[in-house]
Symmetry: D2
Subunit: 364 residues, 4 copies
């Protein structure tokens, strides 16, 4: 790697001794650093996970076929089909830390209650009619909504309509598996509250801007808001673009509005391991190229555009899901406007002080 | 105070020497603890400030007379009339830490811009038509709204109507004066943005529940929300009482709904020195008696009821303002329902670790 | 204050109405802002407290006289004589927030145990032989030691020698009195543990650099270290000057070494309201002039030098105590070297976000 | 898993369709949850890593042989031999998150400077004579010392003696590799400061108990202390056992003293991903059995004893290294006393809110 004077190569006898040494290492469950360091400690992140696009028009029919063939219930627990990153050796992982799946619930089906240390959310790209019941609080699921089931909250789902419904799930299953932090417990077969209110109790307590109930003064590690509704997200983004048009600072970069979903008790990320955001590109916008430590998954919510990953352009449309591994150069553009939901593992990266961002055209 | 053996009283000669000693102390700017300790360090807080009620029907006519006689403008800066606690020796202080005043702006008047290290808010018990312009952002003032001008933000007010308008101001002027932390700077004679939008830019950026703009990821010591609107406060309180009626935990105590106004970047108080809350008592509710370290000011927003301070009942109605000094037993009741705005110095008390609360019927 | 067009002066009739209005304000416990604003909200801090120097050679003999005449015991509690800032109207306050006193305990005397919400420390400029017993832990007091009795810790003192001993006390009595946060409770007449170990138990648990006992993983609002020993302070300062001499960054400014006493559970100030530091000037050093929001008290520990407050030089020597009110320009110099103990109310100022510092020659 | 009515098994035709579906999933890089959930989301942590013991008397001779055969220098960078957990598929990982290795430096050898985002420490079980130079600060390495090289600090090592020296390295290499957060940069061939002081500059600035330099008021993510010396650790542990013997609370459990190495700017762990502690068992002590989420590595520093992992006893002596995977029941005992160094990934687990501890005999 450097052109300084290097020691002479080993003699044949030395080489034999080295091989014997390595064999003895092996017997003793030991591995030398010097044969591994380049792969183990690369000069910049060198993820096994690769950029990849999954098409909604492929995902949905496969989920429908699963709906016909695979029952949902105790044991299997959920009819969820995970994105398996082609670089991750056949594991059901979108990135090393993140699980992303399409979940499908047929007309009048019920997914039974359980709880686990894994943190979970749902995001709805289309449809409605399912309620997710989180610690006994029924939460309606509708297009554009972002819904939380933080770690160790009981939850089940039930479809109250004659139509199936599909949505995406995001969890930290790969991280929890990796770090050996999984706890799991079964709950009831049916959801514990079958009522179907328009808004959850969590929203009635916590969904008023800048107002905190006096009955909820203790901070919580995850957001107490069960549902972040599309109407608010949509208006927040429209407001940012409108303020920008009037000449005021509001957007991330020109024509690029974005909000982060946050825990109102802290102002921080919604769950300890998962960040979630919504991005809107106005017509004709091209973002700067960014590299960021940590991995993300995007889902197109509306519109059409082009995502460039590591120099490779991908045309995307509604429902398409894209994985952006750590430190991969990434940019977005759209001729007619583009709405994207995004989630990522940045809370892990930042809490452990590994965050770095490189934005093309800015000083490092 | 204890019946242990106490030393014999001083002889006449000793007494003379003691007097000479005290006189020498005085010459050297010294004061002994032993003659002062009972007053200086009482066994429980013994405030000079006293409980007191100011009536809106008295305050408003006096403010109107001031409107006729006293111009508003540079020098005097504001036509604000402060509650002067009868226990605080003629100082314009509601409590040792808090300033509370009625401010009055005549038709088409302008209060010029300035900024200061003191933190300020407005609360509107009636009327509308004034815009407060905070760091260039015009904020409409309407009944029930709670409006912020945190420390060192430029601000001015202008009345766009043919009617006068009055509201209350709350600031930490007494604390800032006490602790010698005052900085003050004049701004422009007229407000820097004379437009009159329904909602401020701060609300458009920050007023969406659980959503944080990506352009605003740095936490701020005070809330970036310029206006907390009545419609949200009212609905949050109604939701709490409704949830309680359905059997779910939501209120502080039976029939007593309450929200705290918070800084969305932290989930904590809106400004470093001032807490603000809104309380609603349902019909027929009687709260428990509480003592709390720190002082508060209440204003009745709507309804009628009775506040009991240190055992003394006070009937109150719309606009009435009441001071509750530190550690004074306090309870509220109402036959037909009561809405109250409250602010206090508890952020000071809590950050410095002096908080204690005693609630009648609970263990200390 | 500005030369814009001002309204015409009131007519005689108006003046009469204004006087009637002001009289009506007074009846209703109201005070207008516009007559007060200049004093209430100055453009920079305008403290009533004044810079002042108390001489140790004056303080100590007065304390000795008090030792002869005034018993120590229940009721008076402590033979402590407070610095009364000449600007603070005869109150026993060194600054608006801080109490500073010389305490004197005769041979074999005992100051009985009590506890209070006020935070306290001792600093020893000379002598030894007294143990302060804090929550049952006997803490030896020796020259150069800084000793804590945080709020609500029981404490008493006993002199085990045939010689009297004097030291200084620092407390937040004025702040606690001001903010109405005082709680006080009597304890036993004699100290609860009469043993006289060289080091306290708190030091044995917490006094090892960078090591935290696993039995003490919960953070505490005040430092759990009962005594900060002179040997450590002295060595830390010597090390800084030595590192500086070797060309490494270590000091605050050339020739000016300084340490802050901290809470090892947080790295922050030792108590919620009080900062304490030790400063050492090498020979021939002249510090830059500083203004800082918040007030401080210095005591010379060793050496001679000159302190300049608001342009006025004061020659100081061992034991002399000096008050620096908020925002007063302050610098120090010494021909032969100077060691100073300092305490101040900066934790109050910083937690409430009022801190500003101006250093001569730096950008504001 | 439950005995509720389960759906009938698929017919042969359905089975064929299911197989086709699974094959289509595979083509599209999709994997269903329902076939994986038991392994992916176990009811309690089910680590692949296994408890294992490496013997010092095996490790050291292998390291010596490597010293004879393998040069140290640019490219290989370090002569370090990693513990490869038998459950982790041939990777050089002690646990999923932690790297543990023996490093060996021959007489007068130099390991060149580099820096990386990985956090590293050294612990010395025997020997001395090497200096590790961290960001230009030479740090002597001696028996019992714990030495830091936090992420992105340049560091190299040089042996100033005629004797080789071996020590252990701990890093978060597996976590950094997993999460794709690796940055690495080469430095100089020789160390940047070849001086050999007894104490590092970092210790002179930061190694005084409870004292923080005023030149270092900004908190740092990792500890600024380069070396935690054995003399302090030893005395802290001896003090805890002595206090316990006198009847005061000081130890974790009877006869079990322990300290955590901490960052003095925060009171928290020394580095963002790695916790380090030292434990001492008095003679005849048997600890309670504990389970903890997160993985640890112990090294015996002195004495002999028995470690029980998952019910299996292991006799250990000086230098032996033991891995305790997540949630594995663990206890220690010793007839004649035992000193152990421990490090683990608990900062990762706790910051991400996955921590749980179960102690035998306590309520869950």
């Amino acid at each position: 790697m450097t052109d300084i004077a290097t020691p002479p190569p080993p003699t044949a006898e030395e080489q034999e001794q080295i091989e014997k040494l390595y064999s003895d290492f092996d017997d003793q469950h030991l591995i030398p650093l010097w044969t591994q360091i380049g792969d183990l400690m690369p000069q910049t992140p060198s993820p096994s996970a690769v950029p990849h696009v999954w098409r909604w028009k492929t995902l949905l029919p496969l989920a429908e076929r699963a709906g016909d063939l695979i029952p949902v219930g105790r044991g299997g627990e959920r009819r969820a089909i995970a994105l398996a990153n082609p670089g991750l050796a056949g594991r059901p992982y979108a990135t090393p830390t993140l699980w992303a799946a399409i979940q499908y619930l047929g007309a009048h089906e019920v997914a039974p209650e359980h709880r686990h240390s894994q943190n979970a959310f749902r995001f709805v790209v289309e449809g409605e009619g399912v309620w997710t019941v989180v610690n006994g609080d029924p939460v309606a699921m509708r297009r554009g909504d972002f819904l939380l089931t933080p770690g160790w909250h009981f939850h089940g789902h039930h479809n109250e309509t004659d139509q199936p419904m599909a949505w995406i799930d995001g969890l930290d299953i790969p991280f929890v598996h990796y770090a050996d932090t999984s706890f799991f417990e079964f709950g009831t077969e049916n959801v514990t509250d079958e009522s179907t209110p328009d808004v959850s109790r969590s929203e009635r307590l916590w969904g008023h801007p800048g107002l905190r109930p006096l009955s909820g003064l203790r901070d919580t590690v995850s957001s107490p808001i069960g549902a972040y509704r599309w109407e608010h997200t949509d208006r927040a983004l429209a407001d940012q673009l409108d303020l920008e048009a009037q000449g005021f600072p509001a957007t991330v970069e020109p024509g690029h509005a974005a909000v982060r979903y946050v825990n109102p008790t802290t102002g921080g990320d919604v769950m300890p391991t998962i960040r979630a955001e919504f991005h809107r590109l106005a017509r004709g916008v091209q973002t700067r190229t960014r590299r960021e430590v940590g991995s993300s998954v995007y889902q197109v919510f509306e519109g059409q555009g082009e995502l460039v990953l590591d120099g490779e352009p991908h045309a995307v449309e509604k429902g398409d899901m894209v994985v952006v591994p750590s430190w991969v150069p990434f940019s977005m553009s759209s001729e007619h406007g583009l709405d994207l939901f995004r989630f990522g593992d940045q809370p892990i990266i930042e809490k452990l002080a590994f965050h770095r961002t490189y934005i093309e055209g800015e000083d490092a």
